[in-house]
Symmetry: C2
C-alpha cells in the first residue's frame, strides 16, 4: 500500500516475543507487542516467588520500561479476541484492531491438566505470577492452620503433593523442603519438621527425564536428602482438596496439590485458522512461517518447530528465544534460509547448593552446577534493570539463610458489597 | 488459679500490639498475639506501595519472624469472633478459644466512609496492604486503558481524585504526581503529562490540619508545583465509578477516587460489652484499663486515651506505640500510675525532596525535613530485618529516579470454574 515502514504485530511478550521485538527495536519496522500482562515474566524463577524467596515484581520486567528507548516499538496491554489471517488484522478486547504486514504469534503455553477436572478445579498451578503468589499464600496459610490442628487434620495439612518430576516440580519441591526446614524449627514451635510430608509424584520412571539418567538419579537422591519423598511410576487419578487418589487405590490425605505435570499450547480466544499438530502446536516451515501464510510466523511453545533431525523442539524458553531472534533477523533480511536450533544445555536446581547441568556431553552436578545455574540465570535476567538489586538480595539471603517474602496478601477481594454493608453502620458507631 | 505465669492475649499486631508484645518478650508472662494477617504492617509507607516504589512485602514484617527468639510469645493468625469479658476468653474463627488473665485490645481502625454508600462501593482505600496493591493495579490499568482511549473517556481515565488532605492523602497525591511525571514522558508516548489531572479534595480550609497553618500552606504549594490541584472546602457527595459529585453541583468526570478522608475504630466481629465514646472508641482510665475491667487494656486507635489536657489522642501510630510500651511496663510493675503521651512531632512528605516536620515549636520544611523524615522512617522500620535491603533499594532508586514495582498482578482470581472449563478441552486439543 505504499507504506514506507512495514507493520509488525507480535502476540505475546514471553521469551520468544520479547527477543523478536527487542531485535526489531530501532529498525525500519513499526512494531506493536501485545500481551495481557504489562510485564515480561522471568518464568525460570517463578518457583522462588512461590517459595518466599523473591518478591513477584522482582521477576517481572514492565514492558513499557523494556521498550522505553525503542521509539518504533509500541506496547499494547490487552487480550487478543481475534486474528483474521485473510484481512491481516488482530482484534483486542478493548475493541481496538491492529492491522499488520507481518504477524508473529508467540502466545506460549498453558497448564495441561490432561482433562482431569477434579485436579483442574482443586490443584494449584505454577505457570504465572498470580499462581505463584496464590501458592505462596496457600502454603503459608496451611502452615498457620496446621499450627492449631490435631491428628489426621494436621497430618493432611502438613502433606504437600507436587505432581510432575520435570524441572519446575523438582525445583519447587526442593525450595519448599528448604522453606520448611528453615522456617519451622525457628518460628513454628507448634510444628515439627518430621511431621511434614513433601511428596513429588512422577508418572515416569525417573525425575528430570530430559536430562541424562545419572543426573535424574542424582536429583532424586538430593531431594530425598532434603526430606522429599519421590514417588516414581505413580499418577494422580483425582483430587478433591482433601484426598489425592493415586492409581492402584493408593490415597494420600492432603490439602495441597501443585500441578506441574504438563503444558499445552495456548489457545487464542478466537482460534487462528491455521494448521496444527495433534498436540495443538501451529505447523511452521523451516523459516517458522505458518503454512499458507508466509507473512505469519509462530515461535516458541505455540509452534511446532523442528530440529535438524526433524524432532519437535521442547516447550522451554531457549528455543523460543532463538526463534524470536531468528524471525527478527529474517524480517531484516539477515537470516539464513532455515532456523537452526542450538541446544545450549539444560539446568535445574535442587535446593540451595545442588543443581544439575548438562551442556552437550558435559554433565555437572552439585555446587559447581549450582554456580553455573546462578551465573546463567543472572545473565539472562535481561531487560531487568533491577538485576543488581535481585543479585544483592540473593547473595544477602544466601548468606543469611533467610526467606524474606512471607506476607499473605490478598489483593483481589470483592469490595463492593462488603464495603457498602460496612458503610451502612458508619452513621451510628456502635455504642453498646 | 495458682498458675505460675499469667496469660496475656494481645489482639492486633499493629504498632500498639506489637510494641506491647515485644516488651513482654522474655518476661514471666505467657503472651499470645493475635492478628488476621501473618505480618506487622509498616503503614506509614503504604503510599509507596500504592505508587510503585516499594514491593508490598518490603513493609510487612512476618510476625513469626519478629518473635522468633521470644519463647514466651506465641503468634496466632486468625479473626477474632468473640471476646467474653466475664469468662475472660477470646474466640477465634478456627474455633479455638484463648483464655487470658490480661487482655490487650489493640485492633486499630478502619476506613470511615461516613455512611456514604456510593463512595464505599466504588472508591479505593489505602489502609491495608491488599488495598495498596489494588490501588497500584488500578492506576496502572487505568493508564493502559487511557493509552487507547479518546476524548472525554481518556480525560476521565486520566483524572485521579484523592479525598482527604491529611498526611495519607498528601503523601499519596505527591507520589502519584511524581509517578506520572516520571513514567509518562518516557514510557507512554500515547499520553501527555499535561492531560493528567490529580485532584486532592479536602473538606476543610487547608491540608495537613494537624500541622501549623504555615506548613499546610507550604504543602499545598509544593503539591501544586508537582501538578496536583488542591481543592479546599469541597466535599464529595457521591461517586458512581464514572463521575465524582461534589457539593454545589460541581462534577468531576473520573474513574478513580482514593478515599483517605477518615478512619474509625475497628469493630470486633463480636462487640465487646464495654463502654465506648460517641465515635466508637473504648473508654479507658488513666492506666488504659477498660472501665469495669481492670484486667483489660485498650490501646491505639481503638481506645479513647487522653493527654494531660483531657483531649483525646489522635488516631495515629505514636500514641499506639507509647501506649503499647506503657501497658507492658504496667504489667511488669514498672510503669507510673498514669499513661503520659509525649508528642514527639509530626512528619509528612510531599514528593521526593520536600516534607514538613514539626517537633514541638520547631518547624522544618523542604529538603531538611525530607531527610528527617527519611531517617525517622528507616529507624522505625523495627523488626524488619530487611531494613538494609529497603535502604539499599531506596537509595538506589533515589539515585536512578525509578519506579520499579509496576507489574499488575491479580492473585485471587476464582480458579475453580474457569479451570474446569479449560480442562474440559484438554483431551481434544483444537485441530481446526
Amino acid at each position: 500500500m505504499g507504506r514506507a515502514v512495514p507493520r509488525v504485530v507480535v502476540l505475546g511478550a514471553g521469551f520468544g516475543g520479547l527477543q523478536c521485538a527487542r531485535r526489531l527495536a530501532g529498525e525500519a519496522f513499526d512494531v506493536t507487542i501485545v500481551d495481557r500482562n504489562n510485564y515480561h515474566l522471568f518464568t525460570p524463577l517463578l518457583y522462588q516467588v512461590a517459595s518466599c524467596l523473591l518478591a513477584p515484581t522482582e521477576i517481572a520486567a514492565p514492558l513499557r520500561k523494556v521498550f522505553r528507548h525503542a521509539d518504533n516499538v509500541h506496547v499494547h496491554v490487552g487480550d487478543v479476541t481475534g486474528v483474521d489471517l485473510d484481512q491481516r488484522e488482530v482484534s483486542l478486547d478493548g475493541g481496538e484492531r491492529l492491522a499488520y504486514d507481518h504477524l508473529v504469534i508467540a502466545t506460549g503455553s498453558t497448564t495441561n491438566f490432561f482433562g482431569n477436572e477434579s485436579v483442574a478445579s482443586h490443584a494449584l498451578g505454577l505457570k504465572d505470577l498470580g499462581e505463584a503468589v496464590n501458592l505462596r499464600n496457600h502454603v503459608l496459610e496451611t502452615l498457620e492452620r496446621a499450627a492449631h490442628a490435631d491428628g489426621d487434620e494436621r497430618a493432611a495439612l502438613l502433606t504437600f503433593c507436587i505432581v510432575g518430576g520435570g524441572p519446575t516440580g523438582v525445583e519447587y519441591a526442593g525450595a519448599l523442603a528448604e522453606l520448611v526446614r528453615l522456617v519451622l524449627p525457628l518460628e513454628y514451635p507448634e510444628l515439627q519438621v518430621a511431621h511434614v510430608r513433601i511428596v513429588l509424584i512422577e508418572m515416569g520412571e525417573r525425575v528430570l527425564a530430559s536430562f541424562h539418567p545419572s543426573l535424574g538419579r542424582y536429583a532424586a537422591r538430593e531431594l530425598e536428602h532434603l526430606g522429599v519423598e519421590v514417588l516414581l511410576g505413580a499418577s494422580v487419578q483425582s483430587f478433591d482438596s482433601e484426598r489425592v487418589q493415586l492409581d492402584g487405590a493408593r490415597v494420600i490425605p492432603s490439602r495441597t496439590v501443585v500441578w506441574t505435570a504438563g503444558v499445552r499450547p495456548a489457545e487464542l480466544a478466537a482460534p487462528v485458522s491455521a494448521e496444527r499438530t495433534r498436540r495443538g502446536r501451529l505447523v511452521v516451515d523451516e523459516r517458522l512461517r505458518v503454512v499458507g501464510h508466509p507473512e505469519v510466523r509462530a515461535i516458541g511453545d505455540i509452534a511446532a518447530a523442528v530440529d535438524a533431525d526433524g524432532k519437535e523442539l521442547p516447550m522451554v524458553s531457549p528455543p523460543a528465544m532463538q526463534a524470536g531472534r531468528y524471525v527478527a533477523a529474517d524480517l531484516l533480511g539477515r537470516a539464513p534460509k532455515r532456523f537452526h536450533y542450538r541446544d545450549k544445555g539444560n539446568l535445574a536446581t535442587i535446593g540451595r547448593r545442588a543443581a544439575v547441568c548438562e551442556i552437550g556431553r558435559l554433565r555437572l552436578r552439585g555446587f559447581i552446577a549450582w554456580l553455573t545455574w546462578l551465573v546463567v540465570h543472572i545473565y539472562y535476567l535481561i531487560g531487568f534493570e533491577n538485576r543488581a538489586a535481585v543479585m544483592f538480595r540473593w547473595s544477602w539471603y544466601y548468606v543469611r539463610y533467610e526467606r524474606p517474602v512471607r506476607a499473605v496478601i490478598h489483593s483481589d477481594r470483592a469490595v463492593g458489597a462488603d464495603r457498602a454493608v460496612r458503610a451502612g453502620s458508619d452513621y451510628d458507631p456502635p455504642v453498646p
